[in-house]
């Protein structure tokens, strides 16, 4: 099984999707969701991409509605607040940065076409 991006699910945290703070009031949350859904409906450029502490991600109307629903439930909201409280770590996490991927591997052997992009 090939792993996709392990952080993709984390980036779709409702607070990130709606671009609201974890202490936002229910009205703030609804207002943010309403605005984003309306912008998506009229086809506004740039609204599909949103920033997160873990890098940018993309959203659609379905995700925004799911995010609104999740934040209406108190238990779900608190759970998502926990995940959204991440403070990204800086610097090199691995003891040995040299053991990272060999990114030119496929290209070097002329085999780029054999791995999905």
């Amino acid at each position: 099984m090939t792993t996709g991006d392990p952080l993709a699910l984390w980036r779709s945290n409702p607070f990130f999707v709606l671009e609201v703070a974890t202490d936002a009031t229910p009205t703030d949350v609804e207002r943010a969701g309403q605005r984003l859904l309306a912008l998506l409906t009229v086809g506004s450029a740039n609204v599909q991409t949103y920033p997160t502490p873990l890098g940018p991600a993309t959203r659609d109307a379905e995700q925004i509605r799911q995010a609104l629903a999740a934040l209406r439930d108190p238990e779900q909201r608190v759970l998502h607040e926990l995940w959204a409280s991440v403070i990204p770590a800086g610097g090199q996490a691995s003891a040995n940065g040299n053991a990272g991927p060999w990114e030119e591997a496929e290209r070097a052997l002329g085999w780029s076409a054999l791995w999905a992009r």
Partner: protein, 818 residues
């Protein structure tokens, strides 16, 4: 001047239906041609094929019952065909509902001069998928071009919230209609209405109160020697007359201490009698008390499930005609410990709420107006038609002259507020925060500003937003998922998920499907319900992939990317993508509830009684008091089901449906108890298997096998603690295999095994061959020819009878989850 919007809401009730309209400021109840806001849900088709709906049809319920139908709402989504002999037609319940909706639509046209194209129709919260789909289809048949559904308690809650104003905290909607009981727990916070939970009973309503009163009357008549039997079709007319009289008496008893049941000339088996009974309020209350208690048990169950104890509710909103019963109001207040919402009409609250909901989703019923001559560049506006937020956003996009118009300004029509000029983005979009007036409809004007700050009139130039409540997407009332081959459910949409909703999961096939194999189908059963076991959930549809559609074999473990989508109209869409074949399949056979024969129901009832008795006995022997108590509390429902089956014999279709539902619920209860009992039993099996294996491996195994046995036993125990049944069975199988391998190293093992197989030759799939082998085997035993004995035993094993496929339990599903 802009035309006011026309948001239409319809309460399609079991007994009566109502339609209300909301124009963004106030709600109006529509009156029918007889001047009433309540239209009986009764349809008559006469000999000429003319269709009559409402009170006019209701008059014929007694005199022409075969051509006049009522209370067909509970039959929606079933395969019942209702006959109208006079005209020689048959109609499905959905078609009759369409006639009622058509009549209501006409009433709106008559009163307001416009036939609505779109509406919101209410359905009971616990309606299943095929029932909601039937309601949707009925509305389309009635001439609506678009319809959205809302659960009745949610509609009541919206209406109650609108009326009662802003108060926070949990509250309950107790909706007892003619045929169904719904209870919903809601919460309002800053104008946001949230449905916390649902519960109810699709077969508990005012009709059952009538029936209780009828039973009282029948018992009294029986004492006087007049025997009326529900199971006797000859007594159907008498029962109808009795029911109508009971209904009138029931209404009388809400305000009087006693009421007569008088029927002149009741014909029973040729004997004509005058029925003249007096029913006192205490008699009536004693008869309906258990029904009220049943509803309250459901309420307390809902509260407990959501962590609410006594006195936690802010208020209770009563909905439905039967809630005017004094005893009911008394009991509800006593048990739930909360005041009732005041100023709310229980008969029309649902319709009002449905109309309000149409407002929140901007479902304007007016036909699309012709675009007026263009007076300025067009702009596409998006804003909530109704919201609890006093400062919502208005978003838009300039469709014309996006290069010349640089800014947007919005001003309130009362002149008290206007926005700062807001720059447009390069693509012509903008978002402006506006300020509403509290609890009213606020009108705004929107204009563009060019590069010099000059105003540019836009098209449309005005819009309005109502301040009220925010509901958001209506929640799904029952979980929906896919049945798997191991009888589990892959839940797609949890109860409470917002609609519309779409999810995709990757599942895997459990067997190889060869192309072109006639009759071989890969089944993807879609189920609805809260049970972990698929066979207990209701099968609502199946996506089938016939092997004739495959271009190549589909090996076991093939990925099937399955998408389910459910819209607000209750319509389900399913799509299966098989990557290996690069094909998409999307034909879902949606199920109606099949008509079960009364004989099958009676048979099921007997089997359930036997199972319940066995479980009670086991519970008694195990000293499991809790289980025994659960069973003894539930068993009276079987008696009720039996009564309903008898009534169904007498022509009462509704009673038949109710019996079917009761038996299904009872089956689920027994399955739950059996599953609970099975777990400790599995623990015992693990110990037995281990003990057997240890005894053989100790004597005839090697060190590696002993070590493997211990490790496997530990893994098995761990899986048992984690309640992972699959893993337990896998590890147990390995334990047994180790034991068996060691067992067969014993010099006498093959002989013993031969004796065991030889004793069961009669059960073989090929008895003749098995007998021959048995004879040869005996000879080999005499000669102590171990190799031959082993060969013969292996062949006897291959002739042993095969177990039935377990897949049948999972509705024949061909999929598993990793």
């Amino acid at each position: 001047m802009t035309t006011r919007p026309l948001y239409v809401g319809i309460d399609l009730g079991t007994t009566n239906s109502t339609v209300a309209v909301f124009d963004a400021e106030e709600i109006t109840l529509i009156r029918n041609s007889l001047g009433s806001v309540l239209t009986p849900s009764v349809v008559r088709i006469d000999a000429r094929g003319n269709v009559t709906v409402g009170a006019r049809a209701r008059r014929f319920l007694d005199t022409d019952p075969t051509n006049t139908r009522s209370e067909f709402k509970r039959l929606m989504g079933t395969t019942h065909q209702l006959e109208f002999p006079a005209s020689g037609t048959v109609r499905r319940p959905e078609e009759l509902s369409a006639e009622v909706l058509k009549s209501l639509r006409q009433d709106v046209a008559d009163q307001l001069g416009v036939a609505p194209q779109r509406a919101v129709v209410s359905v009971p919260a616990l309606f299943e998928l095929h029932q909601t789909a039937a309601a949707s289809n009925a509305a389309m048949r009635a001439g609506f071009e678009r319809v959205e559904l809302i659960q009745e308690p949610v509609a009541s809650a919206i209406a109650a919230g609108w009326t009662q104003g802003g108060s926070n905290g949990p509250w309950l909607v107790y909706d007892l209609g003619g045929g169904t009981f719904d209870v919903s727990l809601l919460e309002t916070r800053e104008g946001l209405l949230r449905v916390v939970g649902h519960d109810g009973d699709n077969f508990l309503g005012g009709r059952d109160f009538d029936r209780a009163l009828m039973d009282l009357a029948i018992a009294r008549l029986a004492a006087d020697g007049v025997v009326i039997d529900r199971a006797n079709p000859q007594h159907a007319r008498a029962l109808r007359q009795l029911r109508l009289a009971a209904e009138e008496a029931k209404i009388e008893l809400t305000r009087a201490g006693e009421a007569p049941i008088f029927i002149a000339g009741l014909d029973v088996d040729g004997q004509v009698v005058d029925v003249d009974l007096v029913v006192t309020r205490p008699d009536y209350e004693a008869a309906v008390g258990p029904l009220i208690d049943r509803s309250l048990a459901i309420c307390t169950r809902l509260l407990a499930a959501n962590g609410l104890g006594d006195g936690a509710l802010e208020r209770v909103v009563l909905v439905g005609g039967p809630t005017v019963t004094p005893l009911l109001r008394e009991r509800v207040r006593a048990v739930l410990g909360a005041d009732f919402g005041e100023g709310l009409d229980p008969m029309t609250l649902v319709a009002q709420g449905a109309a309000l909901f149409a407002g929140t989703v901007a479902l304007d019923g007016r036909p699309a107006a012709k675009a007026p001559p263009s007076t300025g560049p067009k702009v596409w506006l998006q804003f909530p038609a109704m919201t609890s937020d006093l400062t919502p956003f208005v978003v838009g996009k300039l469709l014309e002259q996006a290069n010349t118009i640089k800014q947007i300004k919005i001003s309130r029509s009362d002149g008290e507020w206007q926005s700062e000029p807001t720059p447009c983005e390069a693509d012509g979009t903008f978002a402006v925060m506006v300020r509403l007036l509290a609890r009213q409809n606020t009108s705004f004007a929107v204009q563009g500003l060019d590069g010099n700050g000059q105003a540019v009139t836009l098209q449309p130039a005005n819009f309005s937003i109502a301040h009220g409540i925010t509901l958001g997407d209506p929640p799904l009332s029952r979980s929906i998922g896919v049945a798997l081959a191991d009888n589990r459910v892959q839940v797609y949409f949890n109860r409470g998920s917002p609609l519309p909703i779409r999810r995709t999961f990757v599942l895997h096939t459990v067997e190889t499907v060869h192309p072109g194999t006639e009759g071989h189908v890969l089944k993807v059963p879609i189920v609805q319900g809260e049970f972990a076991w698929a066979h207990l959930c209701r099968l609502v549809g199946t996506l089938e992939i016939p092997s004739t559609e495959l271009s190549a074999p589909l090996p076991v473990g093939s990925e099937v990317e399955l998408m389910l989508e459910l819209d607000r109209g209750g319509q389900l869409r399913a799509q299966a993508r098989i990557a290996d074949l690069d094909r998409i399949f999307d034909q879902v056979a949606l199920l109606m509830t099949p008509q079960v024969s009364l004989e099958a129901l009676a048979d099921a009832l007997n089997k359930l009684r036997t199972r319940a008795a066995d479980l009670s006995r086991a519970a008694f022997l195990d000293r499991s008091g809790k289980t025994a108590a659960r069973l003894s509390a539930a068993v009276p429902r079987l008696d009720e089901a039996e009564q309903n089956i008898r009534a169904a014999h007498g022509g009462d279709l509704d009673a038949g449906e109710q019996a079917r539902r009761m038996l299904s619920d009872f089956d689920a209860l027994l399955a739950e108890i059996e599953a609970e009992q099975a777990w400790p039993e599995l623990g015992r099996k693990i110990e037995e298997s281990f003990a057997m294996a240890v005894s053989w491996v100790a004597g005839h195994g090697n060190d590696a096998e002993r070590s493997t046995l211990n490790e496997t036993y530990q893994a098995c125990k761990r899986a048992f603690v984690a309640r992972d049944a699959d893993e337990v069975e896998r590890q147990r199988a390995v334990i047994e295999r180790l034991g068996v391998a060691a067992y067969f190293r014993h010099p006498g093992a093959w002989e013993w095994e031969f004796e065991r197989c030889a004793a069961r030759v009669g059960e073989s799939t090929d008895v003749r061959r098995a007998s021959e082998l048995a004879a040869k085997g005996r000879e080999a035993v005499r000669q102590r020819d171990r190799e031959t004995i082993e060969r013969i035993v292996r062949e006897l094993w291959s002739l042993a009878p095969v177990d039935h496929d377990e897949q049948k339990l999972g509705h024949g599903s061909g999929l598993r989850k990793r």
